[in-house]
Amino acid sequence: MSNISRRKLITAGLAATAGLGGVAAAAHLARRYGLIPPDHGGIYGPGETLTYAAQRILGAHAPARQFPRSMISKDPFANETAPPNDAFKRHQAVGFRDWSLNVDGMVAHPASFSLADLRSLPVRSQITEVACEEGWSYIAEWTGTPLVEVLNIVGVLPQTRYIVYFSIQPDWWESIDMADALHPHTFLTLGMNDGDLPVRFGGPLRLRVPRQLGYKSVKYITRITATDSMKHFGKGLGSASPEGGYAWYAGI
């Protein structure tokens, strides 16, 4: 073996070792700082992980884009939902007066909140855009209780990594990481454009996550769970969306 090829071999070996070491170090850091999404497995895992990690590094705490009142859409489009089930219809028949939000999981004080309870907490409003993964969008003013207010009351344990939320409709649930869960613009939304939140738009209670696409903002919320792992929820992919082929993280 000539000197040159030996030198080449050594260089290549060192480069490969450095490359593998770099990947291993990056993977270790990504796990430590929570930069790996629950649906990181499979052929699209690398792209999904890069997107989620990059967006979390670039702006985990950036405020959602807000708009002037003049830009509120006159005629917002309510996306279709599955026909309401009987449980929802029973609540609707009595004006949602018995609607309750149960909060459990890794919290110090599991609790149940009526809509009136939520209204008695600090209520805020924001003018933000709903952007659907299909491409359309509209702007509305949303009124509600920041999720973080509820999480502070129940006392989320420090090891919590995800907040899981469930619709009253079957098989409709999502989860978000703590960057979005504690974000001041993530609302338990009760009102829209100076009125109650219409049923078509998710009333009486919708979790709005304005820094992600519309499908993360689940309508008709009845339960919230704090957890340190998504392994035991559904197929362990983070939410119902990846089970239907859609990405868990919808920041893009």
Binding site: Q55, L58, A62, M71, A131, C132, E134, Q212, I252
Partner: protein, 262 residues
């Protein structure tokens, strides 16, 4: 005797290994982006200008195809199957491949002088006269002169320059301007374009220009000798005029130029 026009030296490929590898990775990523992008458009084949747009607002234009959503009034009595889930996964994964490959290529291009030597128009060619002279030459179907066998002419350079430094950056920017999390961190990326829906419309048109480039590029490759050009981009094409050695051996160059047009 010097066999040995440097241009013919088998050790001097027409395209360097890095250019060849990044070229074909980009081809794969671009096709994935094109197909999945078209698939995503199918779920809402309406385009708008400004910040917002949906089926309740007037579109800038619509593409006359059925949609994969029954909420979109297309005039067709048919709803296509929903393919957005995997399309979106693959679109962003392919975008990462294209961006990271492009980054490697751009660093290489500046570092080695590839851009300076082969892509930026040569000093004497930065005139409208040079531009129109080359167009006239194409129209006459005149064979390339000796220098052109070894390098790109002004029109080729302009096209590559536009793709590398205008269309690719624009398609990345307009794509990111549709991301609610990215625009939360960098709101100007959306507002400078006129809003989210403007970004989406621009993304569509820039992709169209990239597709147009692809069609012309492949057509030109076919016209100038498909096999030798493909060989040059796959194996390096030893024997083909090299882009990496700007000074050709004068005696050989015209023959080589002729070789390229069967």
């Amino acid at each position: 005797m010097s066999a040995a026009s440097p241009a013919r030296n088998p050790a001097t490929p027409r395209h360097t290994a890095l250019v060849r590898v990044t070229h074909w990775i980009t081809v794969l990523a671009f096709f994935a982006l094109l197909i999945t992008g078209a698939e995503i458009v199918v779920s809402h084949p309406r385009f708008y200008w400004g910040e917002v747009g949906n089926v309740m607002t007037r579109p800038l234009f619509t593409i006359p195809i059925p949609s994969s959503r029954d909420t979109v009034p297309t005039g067709f009595n048919y709803v296509m199957p929903d393919q957005n889930g995997w399309s979106r996964y693959l679109h962003f994964q392919a975008a990462w491949v294209a961006v990271l490959t492009g980054l490697v290529y751009a660093i290489y291009g500046f570092w080695t002088g590839h851009f300076r030597k082969n892509i930026f128009p040569a000093r004497g060619d930065r005139t409208w006269r040079a531009f129109s002279a080359r167009i006239a030459k194409y129209l006459r179907r005149a064979p390339p002169d000796e220098a052109e066998a070894h390098s790109y002419n002004i029109l080729q350079r302009t096209a590559y320059l536009g793709v590398i430094f205008v269309l690719f950056p624009l398609v990345i920017w307009t794509g990111l301007a549709m991301s609610p999390a990215f625009t939360a961190a960098f709101p100007a990326t959306a507002s400078l374009l006129g809003g989210r829906q403007s970004a989406r419309t621009l993304h569509f048109f820039v992709s169209g220009f990239l597709l147009l480039f692809l069609i012309i590029h492949v057509a030109m490759v076919a016209l100038s000798g498909f096999r030798s050009r493909m060989r040059a981009m796959i194996t390096g094409g030893a024997g083909a005029p090299s882009l990496t050695t700007p000074e050709p051996a004068p005696a050989l160059a015209p023959e080589l130029a002729n070789q390229e047009r069967p």
